[in-house]
Structure formats: C-alpha cells, structure tokens
C-alpha cells in the first residue's frame, strides 16, 4: 500500500504540464487553475508549513501564493521552469510572513495531530518523520529536506530557490538525514 500511495503522489506532482496549465490560467481558465492547485498544493503547503511552522500562516501563504501565481501568469514566460518559478513565489511569501510575525509560536503535538488528513493512510514512521522534520531539524535543514524529499527538487535547484551555495545544501541535507535516521531508528522525537 505504501508503494502504491507514493507512486500516486509522485504521479500527481509530476504528470501535468505546469507551463501549459499556467498558460491556460493566464487566459482565465478556472479548471486549469483548479488542476494546478490539485497538482501542487499539497507539496507547496508542506513547504510553506516547513518554513512558517504554523498551520494558519501556511494556509495564508498557500492562498496568497496562488493569487500571486494567477496574476504572475500575465508576465510569466514559459521556460520549462514553472515549478521553480512557483516555489520562488511561495518562498517569497513565506519570507514576508516571517518578517511580519513578531515571534514563532512553539509547536505542540496537538498542532501536528490536526495537520494530518485522516483519510490518507499514514504509518507511525510517517508521522514520526513529519514530527521530527518539524521539531528536530534546523530551519534550513527542514526546508532542504522538504524541497528534496517531498517536492522533488534537485539539490542544485534547492540552492537556487533558497539562495544557498550548493555545498551548503548538500552538507545540510546530509546532516538532516543523519538526524532523522537516529530519530526514526529510536522511534521517538524526545
């Protein structure tokens, strides 16, 4: 079941031609916008959550980003980098949220419980990995892990989105995976 689910996630994010959808959105096609949202909203939301670490702010970022995407299509030039373009918008929105927020509210386990969609099968390890990412990694480590493991970006692309040097991304990713390995093998986040 796990393999089937992961395959479906991968297909749902990789299949649509994002440039084509963006072009149709530019022409005012609501269905295309809905398809675009269905294709990438989950991973975009995951990334926003990993940055702002607050469910409500992440929802704001998601909706605001899609509004910016809608308006940005008027000037967007298809170059086969639609996803990177979208994530740049999302990243900028996240940065704006962090700038306006005076302090970060610590996460609680109750918060995380509410994030999970009960209709989606999710193992103990999956929840543990999510929780460990949110609570035990540094901000940059968390963002890099999500952009690579969830959004499917290559490390070079992540370096460009986060404005980091490639070796920095590589070393932080490696360090983050080591942390996650320890946590997952021990079976707790404490």
């Amino acid at each position: 079941m796990l393999t089937v689910y992961l395959t479906s996630v991968a297909n749902s994010t990789a299949s649509p031609d994002l440039d084509d959808l963006l072009d149709r959105v530019r022409q005012g096609d609501r269905d295309a916008l809905q398809r675009l949202y269905e294709a990438i909203s989950k991973e975009v939301y995951g990334y926003a959550l990993s940055v702002v670490q607050n469910e409500h702010d992440a929802q704001d970022v998601l909706q605001d980003s899609f509004l910016s995407i809608v308006h940005g299509t008027k000037t967007y030039r298809p170059q086969g980098k639609a996803k990177a373009w979208i994530y740049t918008i999302v990243h900028n929105r996240c940065v704006q949220v962090l700038r306006t927020r005076q302090k970060t509210t610590p996460l609680s386990e109750e918060d995380e419980q509410g994030w999970i969609d009960d209709r989606i099968p999710c193992t103990t390890e999956d929840r543990l990995a999510l929780s460990a990412c949110m609570n035990r990694l540094s901000d940059e480590e968390r963002q890099i892990v999500v952009l690579h493991a969830v959004s499917g970006f290559r490390h070079r692309e992540i370096a460009q989105i986060l404005h980091l040097a490639l070796p920095t991304v590589l070393s932080k990713y490696s360090r983050a995976l080591k942390k996650l390995r320890v946590i997952l093998e021990k079976g707790d986040t404490a």
Binding site: D60, H71, L177, L180
Partner: protein, 467 residues
C-alpha cells in the same frame, strides 16, 4: 536505515497533510481579464492587521494607515496628493505630498518599511527632513551600511521636468544624510509612470512599483533576455545597482558606487574560475569579470580565452561557488553545461599550478603539461571556495588523475560494465590534496567513491542498495 527509506517516510508524512481547498477568491481572480490589481487575501493576518490598524488610528487619531496587508495595492492618491516619492533599500516606504510639497502621508510598503516607520517621526516635517529622518533610521537600523549603501528613489509625478529636479534634490539629501553617518552612499533615481503591467508585476512579486520599474528597465536593457523578472525581483537594491554598472539605463540616474564589500571581489572570482579550468591568468587572454545574476543569486560573470576556446563562468558573489561553466571551442558546437555536467569534448591542455595554495589576488607560477586524454565525456561538479585563499591543484605527481580517469577507476572497481552511465563528480581539496568525490547509481545500488587525484588510489568507497 537506508537514505531512500527515510526520504519515503518524510514524503509520506508530508503527503498526509490536510490541505484546504482553493478559495473562491483566487478562482474568481483567475477569470478577471484584463488583470486588475490583486486583492491580497491574507485571511487571518488581514483580520489581525486590520484590528491593529484600527487601534493605531484610535490612539494617535491620525490618518496614517500602516496597513501592511494592503501594501500591494496602488498608492492611495488622495485628492490633494500631487507627488509620491518612494524610497527602496530593503525597507520600502512612500511619501505622499501636495503641490506645496507638504508631506501628507508616509506609508510602509513592506515589513521592513514598517520597522523603519515605527522609529521615524515624520509629522510636520518638510520633504527633505522626512527623507533625512527615514534614511537616518535606515542607517541606524543597519539597512544601509558600508556593505549595502544603495537607495532607489522613485518619483511619481506627471511633470517630467519637476520629477527630474526632485530626483536631483533628494539624491543630494540622501547622499548628505548618509555622509553625516559616515557612510558613503549611492543612489539610483527614476521617474515612474504607472501602468497595468507594472502594477501586476509589483503585485505578483510583492515589491514596490519603483523596484518593479527598475527591474523592468534592467530587463529591457538586456536584449539577450538572460535574466528573468522573478530572479531580479528578489535582489536588494544594492545588488540591482551593481548590475546596472555596465548597463545603459537612460531613464535611471545613478550617483555614487554601490558597495561591493559584502562580496568576494572580481579578483577572487576570476581566480576561482581559472582554478576550476586549471588555467592561470598568464595563460589566457581576453580576461573579463562583470556582475551578473543567475536565478536570483548575484554572481560574477568571468570570461577568458585559452587556445581558441572561450570559457565563461558564473561565480557566486558571496562564497565563490562555480554556478555555471561553459566553454566553446572554435569549429565545435557550443556546449552549455552546468558545473555538474562539464564535458571535455577534446584533448585538453592542462596547466598545473606548482603551489598548493596561493593568495586569491596573485597567480602562482605554472608549469605546463599537455594531457593526451582522448576525447571523452567527463562530468564534474562545482568547486567551492570557502576561505580567503584560492587553493590550487597540488602537482606532487608527474601526471594527476583526471576526472574522467577517476570515473573509470570507480566504475571498474564497482564492476559496472556500462561506462556511459551518469556519474556526479566533485573535486575536493583536503589539506592541499585534491580528491574526486564520485556518486552514481547502477541497478538500484548507490555508490560513493573518494579517489586521490594525485595517483588514482581509492581512498574510500561505499555502496548502498536503493530500495
């Protein structure tokens, strides 16, 4: 636990997140044609900020509306407003004036602008005094300093002559205020004429109209379209100022020089590119280094020619990472590759520095060795310079191992019969010893090798099944 397994847990954990549906407001915006300025939703924050703004109004009884969630909307040109002046650094603020240049309102256009306004008393001040106070706060707040000294002044007024006079007047004011603070300032100034496209660009990228206008002008002056709006929109004004150094922007006036102190400098960038190409400054011709931008990252474009082959590099302005490398030989088709995919398409003459480490600003004496490596395809990754010196190749052996040879050593050691598979190769300098770090996958197994570039010894290797 395997790396891939950890990644799958993360992927699945985040894949189970509950995501809200797309709002009707966004869907409706899609159908608007032609595009109108977006109504930024900001949902919960909108409500919170509205309440905060109402409290401010109640307390001070003034007309200032520091409503960050509405910063993307057009400036509220009240009936008395004749001119709007905006200042961009990273903080962005706008000043509305009437015909007599009485300041009617000062607004923050982004979060940093809010922070500046909170510290700046502008009421009952003239335009010059208001600009002084704002620039003073920006210096005090660390937004303007010796490492980032550029201010963008944008004038929104129908009278071009008046706008130009104001540009000059305020440029003097900004430079003077910064000089009082012992900071050598630099200013870009322009007049902006709003249009729907400009508003859409500013809205989509969450930047001021002035910055959007500057970015658009830089793009218009780039006939080869090597840059994109989104890549420039994220840069601070100081970086944009640096990029305009070699660009003729008739509608933008510049004064002073943007600070380069936060960056490694042309000499180190040049040294990094030459080291990557295993060449020296003495061996190449037509050596140039200019500012450029690659995907929102400020970098140096370094170009040089060696024996009829033109090299072009993009070097990260902060840490010296090679972001992009191209080389084009005469009578050969152009090869454009990322640093992860540099291909050697012909026998290469390699120059080997004889010193293990040389200062970045000097070039080591060289001996020249001609490699007879046959034409092959070599994949290499970027080299990073993280210290103040450029570490050059150590020539302790008669013939160092090339990346291609290291690749073959690793593939043969791993018993991979297909020598054409993709291999990521990075060069590492470990205490003056150059090593090749190689990674590749074959039939579900991930391999990692570390090979000594001096003699081809396999220093370490690992293999892990990617299940």
């Amino acid at each position: 636990m395997k790396k891939r397994q950890i990644e799958q847990y993360v992927q699945h954990g985040f894949g189970a997140l509950s995501v809200p549906p797309l709002s009707e407001e966004v869907l409706d915006a899609c159908e608007e044609s032609p595009p109108s300025p977006p109504k930024i939703t900001h949902f919960r924050r909108y409500i919170a900020m509205s309440v905060a703004a109402a409290l401010v109004l109640t307390v001070i009884g003034g007309a200032m509306i520091s409503h960050f969630s509405r910063r993307d909307t057009p400036l509220p040109l009240a009936s008395k407003t004749e001119t709007v002046v905006s200042l961009d650094v990273n903080p962005s603020v706008s000043i509305s004036m009437d015909k007599e240049e009485t300041v009617l309102e000062v607004r923050a256009l982004n979060a940093d602008g809010e922070a500046i306004l909170a510290k700046t008393d502008w009421k009952d001040r003239s335009l010059n005094d208001t600009v002084d106070a704002l620039v003073d706060s920006m210096v005090e707040g660390g937004y303007l300093s010796d490492t980032a000294n550029s201010v963008l002044i944008t004038i929104d007024n129908d009278d071009d002559t008046y706008a130009q006079t104001l540009q000059q007047q305020l440029t003097d004011e900004v430079i003077g205020t910064m000089a009082d603070k012992q900071v050598e300032g630099a200013v870009l100034s322009q007049r902006v004429v709003k249009d729907d496209e400009l508003k859409a660009l500013a809205d989509a990228h969450g930047i001021s109209l002035g910055k959007a206008a500057l970015v658009r002008r830089i793009l218009e002056a780039d006939p080869l379209q090597t840059k994109t709006f989104e890549s420039l929109a994220t840069l601070p004004i100081n970086d944009l100022h640096l990029l305009t150094e070699k660009i003729a922007l008739p509608a933008v006036h510049g004064r002073g020089h943007a600070s380069e102190r936060a960056y490694i400098g042309r000499e180190r960038a040049t040294a990094a590119a030459l080291a990557h190409a295993t060449l020296t400054a003495d061996a190449v011709t037509e050596l140039e280094a200019e500012w450029d931008c690659e995907n929102g990252v400020l970098c140096y474009e370094v170009e040089f020619t060696f024996e009829s082959t033109e090299y072009e590099y993009l070097v990260h302005a902060v840490d010296g990472t090679i972001l992009k490398a191209e080389k084009e030989a005469d009578d050969r088709p152009e090869s454009t590759v990322r640093p992860t995919e540099i291909r050697t398409t012909a026998p290469t003459k390699v120059t080997i520095p004889t010193k293990a480490s040389v200062p970045a600003t000097t070039i080591a004496p060289v001996t020249t060795v001609t490699s007879t490596t046959p034409a092959t395809s070599t994949t290499m990754k970027s080299t990073t310079l993280t210290t103040t010196t450029v570490v050059a190749t150590t020539a302790t052996k008669a013939m160092p191992i090339t990346a291609e040879q290291a690749r073959e050593i690793a593939l043969r050691h791993a018993n991979v019969p297909d020598l054409s598979i993709r291999v990521d190769i990075r060069t590492r300098n470990q205490g003056g010893h150059i090593r090749y770090a190689l990674e590749f996958q074959y039939r579900g197994v991930e391999y990692e090798y570390l090979i000594d570039a001096a003699n081809g010894d396999i220093l370490s290797f690992s293999s892990e099944r990617d299940d």
